[in-house]
Symmetry: C2
Amino acid sequence: METRKYTILLLLFVMCFATVKAQEKAPQATWIWYPGDYEIWLSNKMQARRTERGAFLPPLWRYYSPYALVTFRKEFTLPAEDEISIFTEGQFKLQIDGKQQHGSSQKVTIPAGKHSIVIKVYNQERVPAVFIQGDHLVTDESWKVTFEDKEWIDETGKASDQSGTNWEAVGTWNFNTPDDLPSAFRLATTPQYAKEVTPVGEGELVDFGKETFGYIRFHGLKGEGNVNVYYGESEEEALDSAFCETLDYLSFDGRQETEYTIENSKAFRYVQVQHDPGVSYDSVSMLYEYLPVEYRGEWNSSDELLNEIWDVSAYTMHLNTREFFLDGIKRDRWIWSGDAYQSYLMNYYLFFDNASVRRTLLALRGKEPVSSHMNTIMDYSFYWFVGIYDYYLYSGDEAFIKNFYPRMVSMMDFCLERRNENGMMEGLPGDWIFIDWADGLSKQGEVSFEQMLLARSLEAMAVSAEIAGDQEGHEKYQKLADEMKAKLFEVFWSEDRQAIMHQRVDGKVLDNVTRYANMFGIFFDYFSNDQKQSVKQSVLLNDNVQKITTPYMRFYELEALCAMGEQEFVLDEIRDYWGGMLDLGATSFWEKYDPGESGAEHLAMYGRPYGKSLCHAWGASPIYLFGKYYLGVKPLSAGYETYEISPVLGGLEWMEGKVPTPDGDISVYCSTKEIKVSADHGQGILKFKSKSKPKTDHGQIKALGNDEYELVIAAGKEYMVKYKAVK
Amino acid sequence: METRKYTILLLLFVMCFATVKAQEKAPQATWIWYPGDYEIWLSNKMQARRTERGAFLPPLWRYYSPYALVTFRKEFTLPAEDEISIFTEGQFKLQIDGKQQHGSSQKVTIPAGKHSIVIKVYNQERVPAVFIQGDHLVTDESWKVTFEDKEWIDETGKASDQSGTNWEAVGTWNFNTPDDLPSAFRLATTPQYAKEVTPVGEGELVDFGKETFGYIRFHGLKGEGNVNVYYGESEEEALDSAFCETLDYLSFDGRQETEYTIENSKAFRYVQVQHDPGVSYDSVSMLYEYLPVEYRGEWNSSDELLNEIWDVSAYTMHLNTREFFLDGIKRDRWIWSGDAYQSYLMNYYLFFDNASVRRTLLALRGKEPVSSHMNTIMDYSFYWFVGIYDYYLYSGDEAFIKNFYPRMVSMMDFCLERRNENGMMEGLPGDWIFIDWADGLSKQGEVSFEQMLLARSLEAMAVSAEIAGDQEGHEKYQKLADEMKAKLFEVFWSEDRQAIMHQRVDGKVLDNVTRYANMFGIFFDYFSNDQKQSVKQSVLLNDNVQKITTPYMRFYELEALCAMGEQEFVLDEIRDYWGGMLDLGATSFWEKYDPGESGAEHLAMYGRPYGKSLCHAWGASPIYLFGKYYLGVKPLSAGYETYEISPVLGGLEWMEGKVPTPDGDISVYCSTKEIKVSADHGQGILKFKSKSKPKTDHGQIKALGNDEYELVIAAGKEYMVKYKAVK
């Protein structure tokens, strides 16, 4: 017993000591930079890696540039003397308490007390960045930065006291050691091996079993001569050396490494390798390249096909979640705002990786002055605003909006200045009106879809203005949003057609109904209940209205139907459409799928036989739909402080899954008889329909009438509800 | 005789052949880039080379960044098939006749006929640039470029036909071979050797005999250990290892080259070298670093002191004429708009190097959006406008104004938006009102000097708008200029003091007269003749008005006096002031000189013992004054198409010199009895006073009365005038 007592005492002592040590531990330092500049630099680099048959193929739109000279600043109080170590990307000038430090020492000792530190960093080639580690003073998100330190001295050496400097919050990511240089960032890699190798002429066709991305490697490479590598997302493409979209012509002089890795990573499932007789190798493998993110979202159900669709969607989404959210990994390997917008939404139900959303939003926005729409596309400017609103709703990240609100304002100024005399957006020279890839889709005149996105963007601005503390802006944008919405219905709503018409040209609304504005109007909640019901019949379920063939717009079409309670219909559509791709052997989802096409027609696009991307982020929308409209989880207030769970089986026997939130997960199981939910954070409301009086082990179920029930969900408990599902 | 005949025939044959060859010679290709971007990049690099006691010391103001992705374009017609060689700084994408060229070949053959070429170049680290050499197609100033090619393709691969792209004229300099990469630009160097070496402690003091700039070299360097190099523009500075402004701490491990050159060039006359016993060297020399420019302007006179002042001025000017016009070579080694403005003017009378003016104007302007005054100084924004006007007047370079007029407009927009409710410029937070280094000079409220510079800038805008074909802008700026001038006199002219008052604060004109606006008003020709005469007495020659102590403002003060015919007085001032520096051993002219100071006081500034620059461009103004107000040469219309020669001896027995023009020189000799002039181009008017009736060998002298005469000067003739100078 004595021994045990001492052991306990000893344990207590150790625990106390550990606590003291933990308190003494220096705070975590991180590399800091001018906000958005790293994202611009990294996206420039990344988007310049695309090649087309060996030729460099940069994005169509403009590149922004980081500032080469920036000034970082912090005021701080030291409890004790602190020796700080300074690491920079670039040359630096250091001022402590207003005094320039001579020399270029990386170690400086600062006495206890109140101080200011100012450090200017210059780097023309990479992004100026700084990492300071002391016991107390470290670089972190509390630092400020400016690209224009309006400071000068007079003849006597006295600094100006009237400052016009605009200090902003620094940018950071996850570079948390001195050696982890932001400019040296690389995605993670891991080796992967061929599933099958087949001879082709003198060479071979290597099949990696599924769509993938990375660096082809040769093992045991010897000799001199040329090696040609033809990549294919399909077997047809890899075998077609004359038309495959990507290739590498390698030339070896005998002095190469025997383990040789090709420099530029690419998207493929197959590679065809042909080589000169003088050169040989033992085998071909690859380094799979990926962003390390956790699959936090989960989905499982009684339908194996849907489970496979979710899995392939998640893989498609992961392949396209890289330095930034890409449209597709073979093509374009670029950041398109409209495509990225869908990735944000899918991300909230899969990775919940806020950093990827922020990086992508910042890379897209670039800097002042705004000289064109995002990616030159009008709709893509608007998706950016709406994407910020959604980001805030899901993440609760107010700091992001506070920091970047000025860039939202200048972007919106650009849009508003381009309105015509009716206050509507219409394509001006240089404006691309995209909407969707669809045969004969007119973009002429005032397109209702664009006006609706503008209205939604103005609402996003109104919310953001409030968060940023700009009350005047809040009122201005809210008024503009209200006016735009009113005008939208006044001009485009047809009582006759019970739909929003597609466009007005030269003051005349044309007799043309498309799905776009009508489906967005539903989940934007712009329609009255009556309008919603009519639009469902007159547009959504009306085969006479031109069908949508891209998964891009299928995303919104199916969302609109789900928002109208058509989950069962939508599941059938998903089984047909996504299941159709799986039937054709898809291992990731495509840029476009037309069930009416056959054979190699499925591979062609843009007039090129393999122009179509077979791994396109917008193909992964089931992740979003399953999480939001079947598990039925969505935030009601920013950062899931309050949220709703409205599970809808849509004809399934059962389903279960997890939805990630900023602070833990929300778990849902739902069968026709039982609902089980639990959440790590926030306050939820479970909504469901039951034909019998439901029972629960915790809390009080509230009957709303009409078979509808509600149960308040508190964090940290598991709720089990016994009920009888309404078919 | 026979032999001779054949020889002549042979010669004729060779000459014909040579002519044919010359016609066949391919046109000169040159590297091209986005206009202004190379200047921004190079100036960033150059201005980041300043150090202070080993510490990096970048400019106070913001840095701009070049575009990383630009698109070049040309439409052309080939008389025959042409094989072009493509060289780029960066990766490139090539389109010929709208078709993407696969691969990355540097040689492309284009058939005869009409074509278009589009080449996109990406470079994140250096400025994207391209050099194309064919027999017919070459990169030159006729190419266009954009940073935003608003081009896209639809689903079928068809390119958009509605372009919003803004194509601009490319930038060039003198990089005329494929190997002469813009990014590899270095100034020229040549070895120079010590004039005297004196032991100092264990080390030595090396005197290079005069102010110079370059790289210190060690010959026969051996062993291991530290070598410290202390630089001094003065002996005192080099000997004061604790306070000298620049130094190098070198550390050798024994593996260094025996001929070792320090990496960063510096300004100095003296260096003190101290080294560890373990390291030794045979001798110290230097590599003098300079911009190769021709001294086209010349000056010589009966006064040896003035001749020396001109020579030292020219050397001072040359030392500061580098990648750009610097303020000073030790400090700041930066591009200050106000300092550069004087360099432009001096340059017109010395090098006439238009490229240096253009580079400097572009580096200063940077890009959109304008977020502060140039170098953060209000007056320095204005000097930039006036500098462009002068550049046009001297060079006749309309293309420059046409190309950069949009950047002038946005810079002026920035200024105009900062006017107060009286339409006047007043310092806002972040605005530095510099004017001059002068004790107690008030910058509060509405300063008349700034309003006068604004008026002049608006005049420059009015002229530029006309050249750029913006008639509306022309009228707008002319009206604003007229209003500003009227307001200037209405508010600040004091009948009582017969002067422009210094400032108005809170609606009240203060009882303060300074020289600034009064002297500028004279050579801007803003005063009536009566006002001019009174201002001369009440301000310029009035010792009660605070004296000017910087050569910077002495420049304008003396110019104003010269413009009033006070050449004799001014020569005395020059002999005193610049002669005073020479008496103190100056080998280049200083940032500031106060005859009242003595000894080491002359070296101190900004609270630092060697803070003063002893080689400052603004110290070289005699070059300008001698050329413009003694030789009396100035353009009357752009590019010296017409010009004036009004020689004024100012008490000299004789003087002679050359003034460079865009197309040859203007030569002037003048004694009390003879004037000889000749010019290579343009039409001049010689103006002079004579007490007797003058005679000439060419043309007709016109008597204007009042002893004044005129003679029209045609190009290519030498004119000799016999006359009798008016004392």
